[in-house]
C-alpha cells in the first residue's frame, strides 16, 4: 500500500499521529484494542488532481469523529475511501488494526462499516418496514416472514427512540430527520460497527437536526464508532469526541474535544486567514462593499481567529 512517492508526506504527518494515537484508544475503548477505523497519511489522486492529501484520522468504538470542511474540502473523497468505493492512492487504511483494501462498499459492509448517504437509500413509496429490510429480507421458506420483520423494525426503531405506531406507512411520509434515523437504525441493526453519516443534518431544520444529533449520541452510547461528516461546527461540537478539519483536500487540524472550543472550531471552519483576506479585498473595492469588508474584519477579530496557525490553537486550548 505504501508507495515510495508518499514517504515525504509521511514525514509531515508523523508527529501528529504520535500525538493522538497513544492518548485515545484506551480512553473509551473498554478492551483497549486498536481503533475500529484508522487512516494513516491517506491520500487520493484522480490523475493529476490531488483530491486528498496526507489525512490521518481514526474512530474507536463508542466514539464520534467529526469531519468538518467546506464544499470541496475533500469530505466526500474521504468517505468514499472509508466506505470502500475508492482505494487510497497513498497511505494505509486499517480496520481494527488490520490493513485493508476494499474493492467495493459491500466488502466494507462485511467489515461492519456502513455508510448512510445524504440521499439515504430509501424508496419513498415503500412502507417503513419494507425499506428497513430491503436487500436483507427475513425469509421463511420462499416467502418473507412479514410479522417478524414488522416487529423487528418497530423494536429496532424503538431502541433508537423512534416511536412509530405504524411501520406500514410509506417512508416518504416521515420527516427528513425521521428518515435519517430509520436509515441509521437500519445500518445498526444489520451489524454496523462503524457508521459513516454523510451530512445527515444538511437538509434539515433546527429541530430535525436536533433529532438526528440525538440518534448519533445514541449510536455512540450503544458502542458504535461514528464518523459524522458535516460543515456545521454547531452540530459537530456537541456530539463529537474528535474533530478532523479539512480544507482543500488537506487536514488543517485534528483535535480531541478537550483541545478545542466551539468558537475555535467555528473560526477554523470559517477559515480565519481566508476571511481576513476576503475582508481586505472587499474593503479595497470601496463603497458599500467596503463596509461589509470592515464588519467582516471585526468579526474575525472578535472570534480571535486571525492568522492563528493550528498549533497555537491547540496549545491555547489547553
Amino acid at each position: 500500500m505504501t508507495t515510495p512517492q508518499d514517504s515525504p508526506a509521511g514525514k509531515h504527518a508523523a508527529p501528529e499521529t504520535t500525538q493522538t494515537s497513544p492518548v485515545v484508544p484506551p480512553a473509551r475503548n473498554g478492551s483497549g484494542g486498536p481503533p475500529l477505523v484508522r487512516l494513516v497519511n491517506a491520500g487520493k489522486r484522480y490523475g493529476a488532481v490531488i483530491a486528498l492529501h496526507d489525512i490521518t484520522m481514526e474512530v474507536s468504538a463508542g466514539e464520534v469523529t467529526c469531519v468538518l470542511g467546506d464544499n470541496g474540502a475533500g469530505k466526500s473523497t474521504l468517505i468514499k475511501i472509508i466506505a470502500g468505493l475508492h482505494q487510497p492512492s497513498s497511505g494505509t487504511y486499517e480496520v481494527e488494526g488490520t490493513p485493508v483494501a476494499f474493492d467495493s462498499p459491500r466488502q466494507a459492509l462485511e467489515h461492519g462499516i456502513a455508510t448512510v448517504y445524504q440521499d439515504l437509500a430509501v424508496v419513498p413509496l415503500m412502507p417503513v418496514w419494507r425499506n428497513f429490510f430491503l436487500g436483507n429480507e427475513v425469509r421463511k421458506g420462499p416467502r418473507m416472514d412479514i410479522p417478524a420483520m414488522k416487529k423487528m423494525c418497530k423494536d429496532e426503531l424503538l431502541a433508537m427512540g423512534i416511536d412509530l405506531r405504524d411501520v406500514d406507512q410509506p417512508i416518504g411520509t416521515l420527516s427528513g430527520g425521521e428518515r435519517q434515523c430509520v436509515a441509521i437504525s437500519r445500518a445498526v441493526h444489520f451489524g454496523a460497527k462503524v457508521l459513516i453519516l454523510d451530512e445527515p443534518t444538511a437538509a434539515l431544520g433546527v429541530k430535525q437536526s436536533g433529532v438526528v444529533l440525538k440518534y448519533i449520541v445514541q449510536a455512540r452510547e450503544r458502542g458504535l464508532g461514528v464518523i459524522f461528516i458535516t460543515h456545521n461546527p454547531h452540530h459537530a461540537y456537541p456530539v463529537g469526541d474528535r474533530f478532523l478539519l479539512l480544507n482543500r483536500g488537506a487536514s488543517i487540524g485534528n483535535y480531541e474535544k478537550n483541545q478545542v472550543t466551539r468558537d475555535e472550531l467555528t473560526g477554523l471552519m470559517a477559515g480565519g486567514t481566508e476571511l481576513e483576506q476576503l475582508s481586505h479585498e472587499l474593503e479595497s473595492a470601496g463603497g458599500a462593499v467596503a463596509d461589509l469588508g470592515r464588519s467582516m474584519e471585526a468579526d474575525v477579530e472578535e472570534l480571535g481567529i486571525s492568522q492563528q496557525p493550528t498549533t497555537t490553537t491547540e496549545s491555547d486550548a489547553r
Partner: protein, 352 residues
C-alpha cells in the same frame, strides 16, 4: 444538549394522532386498487341498468373471457410497470409467439407441442433482449420497446408472407398434439349451465401468483424497490439489472401463454393482429393503480383494470351502441385513472 434531548420527546404523540386520523378512510383510499374497484362497481351497475342482455350469466361469462385474454398480459405488464419500465412490444409479441409456434410446427411437420416450446424460447428471448438493452444502455424502455414493437410487427408480416405467401398462418388443427395443446390452452367447461373458458381460470391463478410474489416474497419487495428508486435499491444490494430483465422476461412468458391460447382457439393466426393491444395492457395496469413512474401498483388492480376494459368492451355491444364509442370510453377511463393516481401519489409522498 438539553434542547436536543428535549426536542424528540414531543413528536411521537402528535404523530400518533395523525396515524389515527388517517387509518379509517385514508388507508382504504391509499390502496393502489381502490379507485379501480370503485370504477368497476360503477361501470358494472351502469351497464347492468342500461343493457338488459348484460345481466345474464352467460354474457357475463363472455365478458370475463374477453377480460381474461387482456388480463393475462396486464398482470406481468403491471409488474413491469411497478418495476419502473414499459413494454410497448407486448401486443405484437403475443402474435409473434403464436406465429412462431404455428409456422414452426407446420413447416417442419412436428408435433404441435414442439412449436409451442420453440415459441416459448422465442418469447423469453424477446423479453430478455428488451430487458438487456434497457439495462445495458440506460435508454428509456419506452424507446427500446417502441423499436422492438415495430421490428416484431414487421417480422410478423414479412416472415409470414415469405413463408406462406399469405397474411395468416396455416391451419394447424391436423397436427399431432393439437388436441392436447388445445385442451391445455383453449378449452372450456360448464358450471351450472354457464360456459366458462379456461383462460378465466388461468387469469385468476396468475393474478393470485403475481399478488403473492409482490406482497409476500423478497422478489416483490425488490420489484417495488427497483421501480421506486433504482439507485437506492442498488445501494442496499438489490440486483437491479437482473430484476428488470426478469420482469421483461415475465412479460415474454405471458405473451407466449396468451399467444398459445389465441393459436389453439382459432387454429390460425393473422400476422397483423396484436397491434394496439400493448396499450390495452398498459391502460389496464394504470387504471388499476400502477404509476407510470414505477414503484407503486398492484396485480389485483391491473386485473380490475382489465375487467373494466372488458365490461366496457362488451357492455357497449350489449347496450346496442355504436362500437366506435368504445375507444372514447377507454380514453376517458385512462385519463380519470391517471388523475386519481396522481392525487394518491401526492398524498403518499407528501411529507408529514
Amino acid at each position: 444538549m438539553a434542547q436536543t434531548a428535549e426536542a424528540p420527546v414531543t413528536p411521537p404523540p402528535t404523530r400518533d394522532e395523525r396515524v389515527g386520523r388517517k387509518s379509517t378512510l385514508g388507508r382504504l383510499l391509499a390502496r393502489p386498487e381502490a379507485g379501480a374497484i370503485a370504477g368497476a362497481i360503477v361501470i358494472y351497475l351502469f351497464f347492468f341498468i342500461i343493457a338488459p342482455p348484460f345481466r345474464n350469466a352467460s354474457s357475463f361469462s363472455n365478458t370475463l373471457y374477453v377480460t381474461s385474454t387482456y388480463g393475462l398480459m396486464a398482470t406481468p405488464v403491471a409488474l413491469l410497470m411497478i418495476g419502473g419500465e414499459f413494454d410497448l412490444s407486448a401486443g405484437v409479441a403475443v402474435t409473434s409467439s403464436a406465429l412462431c409456434a404455428s409456422l414452426f410446427s407446420y413447416e417442419f411437420t412436428t408435433n404441435a407441442w414442439v412449436g409451442v416450446l420453440v415459441a416459448l424460447a422465442l418469447s423469453l428471448l424477446i423479453g430478455f433482449i428488451n430487458g438487456w438493452v434497457v439495462v445495458k444502455t440506460g435508454i428509456p424502455s419506452f424507446l427500446v420497446t417502441l423499436g422492438t414493437f415495430f421490428m416484431l410487427q414487421g417480422l410478423n408480416l414479412a416472415l409470414t408472407q415469405t413463408i406462406t405467401n399469405q397474411v395468416a398462418s396455416p391451419d394447424i388443427s391436423t397436427l399431432d398434439g393439437f388436441g392436447s395443446a388445445q385442451k391445455v390452452f383453449a378449452s372450456s367447461f360448464t358450471v351450472g349451465g354457464v360456459n366458462i373458458r379456461i383462460t378465466v381460470i388461468y387469469w385468476i391463478v396468475f393474478v393470485i401468483i403475481a399478488t403473492w410474489i409482490l406482497l409476500r416474497t423478497r422478489f416483490g419487495n425488490w420489484i417495488f424497490a427497483v421501480g421506486g428508486s433504482p439507485v437506492s435499491a442498488r445501494a442496499v444490494g438489490v440486483p437491479v439489472a437482473r430484476m428488470k430483465i426478469g420482469l421483461f422476461m415475465a412479460v415474454g412468458f405471458m405473451a407466449w401463454f396468451t399467444g398459445m391460447h389465441t393459436l389453439f382457439q382459432f387454429n390460425t393466426i393473422q400476422s397483423g393482429q396484436g397491434v394496439g393491444n400493448e396499450f390495452v395492457y398498459i391502460i389496464a395496469a394504470v387504471v388499476g393503480g400502477c404509476l407510470l413512474t414505477g414503484g407503486y401498483g398492484s396485480a389485483v388492480g391491473a386485473a380490475i383494470g382489465a375487467l373494466i376494459f372488458g365490461m366496457v368492451n362488451q357492455g357497449i355491444i350489449y347496450a346496442g351502441w355504436n362500437p366506435y364509442w368504445f375507444t372514447f370510453f377507454v380514453g376517458a377511463l385512462l385519463l380519470g385513472a391517471i388523475l386519481l393516481n396522481t392525487y394518491i401519489r401526492r398524498r403518499a409522498e407528501a411529507s408529514v
